[in-house]
């Protein structure tokens, strides 16, 4: 559940919270693009560090750290899989595994962490309402915007419901932590089925309630609040595009010159 904690919005006032979601999304896309472009460790470390000021400026350190902790298990899996599979595929009889392999696996892991980091910043600092508004003003059909914001808004509700269901099944003697790996996964069936069924029921009820409140009666909806691009937004947009251009430039012309870190560090130690 802790991964979701990292994506749960809390109403705080900060310069980052007030940025236009569209621009913030541009920023996330830029980070995403750069992270996918490089598979060397150094640029990914830089990318990771660049984002830390955002977290501090938004004052969401606690939640952010929690989401990072939530992602740590997956990150570990990614590292292990990358490391083991590449080792057995490329280097197997040779021992120990080369340092470039280690660096490659670390880079892949860090890529995942950077992605989680940027998405977590985005969702931690953007209220579902503003997100919906941003979609609407980007000319996404209102039905889709509504479906999206509703989905986001119901995540905490579902999390709470999952907790109740877990309690109810525990009270019937279900022990989630019992048995081997397969058994443990099977243990979650009594929790998932009621959760899915009630989510479907809830959505049907919500649909009926909305229809009876004249949802979709007019095609031209107006909004009480309208998003406007302001100075801070321009700055972030310039930063994002600048980062992207720089990254593309490095990727095109200097890719081969990016130093690998592990030889660098070990060389210094010697």
């Amino acid at each position: 559940m802790s991964v979701f904690e990292g994506f749960r919005f809390r109403r705080v006032l900060s310069p980052i919270h007030q940025l236009d979601p569209r621009v913030k999304f541009l920023y996330v896309c830029a980070v995403f693009g750069i992270a996918v472009m490089f598979n060397q460790l150094l640029p990914l470390i830089l990318l990771f560090l660049i984002q830390l000021p955002f977290v501090l400026a938004a004052g969401v350190q606690k939640e952010w750290i929690r989401s990072m902790k939530g992602a740590s298990f997956l990150a570990l899996m990614i590292f292990l899989f990358n490391f083991l599979f590449t080792y057995f595929y490329r280097e197997y009889p040779i021992f120990p595994p080369s340092s470039s392999l280690l660096e490659y696996s670390l880079a892949m892991t860090l890529r995942f962490i950077v992605l989680v980091e940027s998405f977590s910043i985005f969702f931690l600092t953007t209220s579902p309402d503003r997100l919906g508004l941003a979609l609407e003003q980007s000319h996404v059909p209102y039905e889709f915007c509504f479906a999206f914001t509703t989905a986001v808004r119901f995540v905490p509700v579902l999390a709470e419901e999952a907790q109740t269901i877990m309690d109810a099944q525990k009270a019937r003697g279900l022990e989630l932590e019992r048995g081997n790996f397969i058994k443990r996964i099977r243990n979650y069936i009594p929790i998932l089925i009621p959760l899915i069924v009630s989510a479907i029921r809830r959505s049907l009820e919500l649909a009926e309630a909305m229809e009876s409140r004249a949802w979709g009666a007019t095609n031209k909806r107006t909004n009480l609040y309208v998003l406007k691009i302001e100075r801070g937004d321009y700055i972030l947009a310039v930063i994002s595009v600048g980062m992207l251009i720089l990254a593309v430039y490095i990727w095109l012309f200097m890719r081969e010159q990016i130093p690998s870190l592990i030889p660098l560090i070990t060389a210094q130690n010697v």
Partner: protein, 273 residues
């Protein structure tokens, strides 16, 4: 049997739900825990089977501190029927659903069969045994949930809001059923804000408000005490309201039983039936 000693409980979001609650439930008791929404009723009973552990204070069940035992182990002796049956039903048939807990507790197949049979008949679900729980009506689903708990024959049965969503006839059946369970020696704890239901059951009433126990006494005493009732934001049963308004006629005010009321009124009118 269940001993709650000076228990405080604070939820992770810093809501203080219980503030120094002490309560002793003895074997064979029939207790109704009442109070308005958010008074801490459900939070309190969730301590009885260890779903919640006290932030401060202790809860002991048969001498065992709930902090030292898993929910599954405690549940063997304490059956908890949740408010919303949809939070626990997941099997393909009613039979499977009732057998689920028995499997978890490691009963033998033969005994499981017997117990399932017994529980299904007890709650009048025989003709639905092969139906999917999801196809049943709200009241029937509630009964399946109840059957699935009674099947393992726990010493204590906790029912969270059993009357919600039940029509009057179902409620009456449920009342008779609960009274019967209690008469057979089961300890019954009911969480509810249905005063009429409590008035008809006439149990020991624990009245809660804002995370504290306001009073702990018999139903007649608690439900007809205007001061206590206002403090806990509940409304006395209708029959008591009538008698509270008729005290000028020299009638007693502390009446919660309809039959008793009828006798008193007949007596007062000098009539005979």
């Amino acid at each position: 049997m269940i001993e709650v000693k000076d228990v405080y409980f604070t939820y992770p979001n810093n809501v203080e739900a219980l503030k120094g609650v002490s309560l002793n439930i003895r074997k064979g008791d029939f207790v109704a825990i009442m109070g308005q929404n958010g008074a801490g009723k459900t939070t309190l009973v969730k301590h009885f089977n260890g779903l919640l552990k006290p932030t401060k204070g202790t809860v002991t069940v048969n001498g065992v501190d709930t902090r030292e035992e898993s929910v599954a182990k405690l549940s063997r002796g304490i059956g908890f029927v949740f408010q919303n049956p949809d939070n626990q039903l997941f099997c393909e048939t009613v039979e499977e659903e009732v057998a689920f807990a028995l499997r978890n507790f490691g009963f033998e197949d033969k005994i499981i069969q017997k117990r399932v049979e017994w529980a299904i008949n007890l709650l009048g679900l025989a003709k639905h045994r092969q139906s999917s729980p999801f196809m049943l009506s709200g009241g029937e689903r509630k009964r399946v949930a109840l059957a699935s708990v009674l099947a393992w024959n726990p010493d204590v049965v906790i029912l969270d809001e059993p009357t919600i969503g039940q029509d009057y006839q179902q409620k009456e059946k449920l009342r008779q059923f609960i009274v019967q369970l209690n008469a057979q020696g089961k300890t019954v704890v009911v969480v509810t804000h249905d005063v009429e239901f409590v008035a008809e059951c006439n149990p020991r009433v624990v009245l809660m408000a804002q995370g504290e126990i306001v009073v702990d006494g018999d139903a007649k005493h608690v439900l007809t005490n205007a001061k206590l009732v206002t403090e806990a934001s509940i409304v006395p049963p209708q029959i008591s309201q009538i008698f509270m308004g008729l005290t000028d006629l020299g009638l007693p005010f502390d009446i919660i039983d309809v039959y008793e009321a009828r006798d008193i009124l007949l007596d007062f009118l000098g009539g005979d039936l």
